[in-house]
């Protein structure tokens, strides 16, 4: 990821952050050993981030809820494989993106196979998101699915095009083209404001 903000911490904040990190490490270790109460605390810490990313990627409340649940279920099963080399939040973020994209792919396949929709456009089948104060949030939901995925993962979440291509199973060139497409549409919509 190429995005990151370094914030200067006061000594008091640094102490708090350090003990917070230790608490998090303890929660991860306990959850890895099957402690569900510890895992619930990890869930409470991160559900906001997981759900926000899933919602932005899917553009649909119901799918985002399903993807968030699936993320935490898969995470529980694979917690032992977390090596601790990267930050837990970074790892979780990647798991969320992968699970959500995979969930969207399964949904699309299901619609195509079951109802014979060759070019199933889920945007036509789901309820729109509630209105939001930030106009960009609304514009993102209006983007075509592939353009939205690339824009959210690259421009907002900071993944490189190579990483986006791997997650979404598209070519690196397609990822760049979809970003260009997304920005063109956003520019057009923002110009009309």
């Amino acid at each position: 990821m190429n995005q990151g903000t370094v914030t200067a911490l006061s000594p008091k904040q640094a102490v708090t952050t350090s003990s917070e990190d230790e608490l998090e490490q303890a929660l991860i270790a306990a959850a890895s050993n099957g402690n569900k109460a510890a895992y619930q605390q990890l869930y409470q810490r991160y559900v906001g981030q997981v759900y926000a990313l899933a919602l932005r990627l899917t553009g649909d409340v119901s799918h985002a809820e399903d993807a968030a649940q699936e993320t935490f279920i898969q995470l529980w099963q694979s917690l032992a494989s977390f090596s601790g080399d990267a930050k837990f939040s970074t790892w979780l973020h990647r798991v969320t993106a992968n699970v959500t994209v995979s969930h969207m792919r399964k949904q699309k396949n299901w619609l195509q196979r079951t109802f014979g929709l060759e070019s199933a456009n889920e945007a036509d089948l789901v309820a729109p998101l509630p209105t939001d104060d930030n106009p960009l949030e609304q514009y993102i939901q209006r983007l075509p699915e592939r353009a939205r995925l690339v824009f959210v993962l690259h421009a907002i979440e900071g993944y490189r095009h190579e990483e986006v291509a791997e997650m979404t199973q598209m070519a690196v060139g397609s990822s760049k083209a979809q970003l260009h497409r997304a920005k063109q549409l956003l520019k057009e919509w923002m110009s009309h404001d």
Binding site: K36, Y43, G48, Y51, E65, A80, L136, K187, S191
Partner: protein, 170 residues
């Protein structure tokens, strides 16, 4: 608007986007239920299994290469497609079970409109099992898949419907 102005404005709006958002529904209950049925990998157990799986994959690729016949590869592709369909049915059933259990937990203790709704639910469950049995022989049959999806939806609608009239007065 110039490109430069657009990029600046876009970046400002991206920076202002919230990084967190709480779901309106309690997702933990469904997760907790799934965890009870999900075995957790342990570090000690995961490693040898992964080696075994890798070794098995290497052997499979070697065997496929050795046979090299179109017939064999075609047969294998069909088997894989079949396995994929079976996985999909299993995932759909798991997802339905999760939704159903969450709903039942949420409505536990709430008055029901009819007395025999449990019986109706069981009948629908029997129907779903019969369809799943048929799908075991023909897992890619779109009509059966549609029927299973429909029975699952009917179950959820039944649970909601029998509890809804009383809930309105609460």
């Amino acid at each position: 608007m110039t490109n430069h102005e657009f990029e600046q404005q876009l970046q400002r709006q991206i920076d202002a986007l919230p990084r967190q958002q709480q779901p309106k529904r309690d997702l933990w209950r469904g997760i907790e239920h799934a965890l009870a049925e999900s075995p957790q990998q342990t570090k000690a157990a995961a490693s040898p299994l992964r080696w075994l799986a890798t070794a098995a994959s290497v052997c499979l690729i070697a065997v496929l290469g050795w046979f090299g016949s179109n017939h064999y590869i075609e047969q294998r592709a069909q088997q894989l497609a079949l396995a994929q369909s079976q996985q999909f049915i299993a995932a759909m059933s798991d997802n339905h079970q999760l939704q159903k259990d969450s709903l039942l937990v949420a409505l536990k203790g709430k008055p029901a409109f009819t007395d025999n709704w449990q019986q109706q639910l069981d009948e629908l469950e029997d129907a779903a099992n019969a369809i799943k049995e048929a799908l075991e022989h023909d897992p890619r049959n779109p009509t059966l898949l549609k029927m299973l999806q429909s029975v699952y939806q009917q179950q959820l609608q039944l649970i909601e419907r029998v509890h809804a009239p009383k809930l309105i007065h609460i």
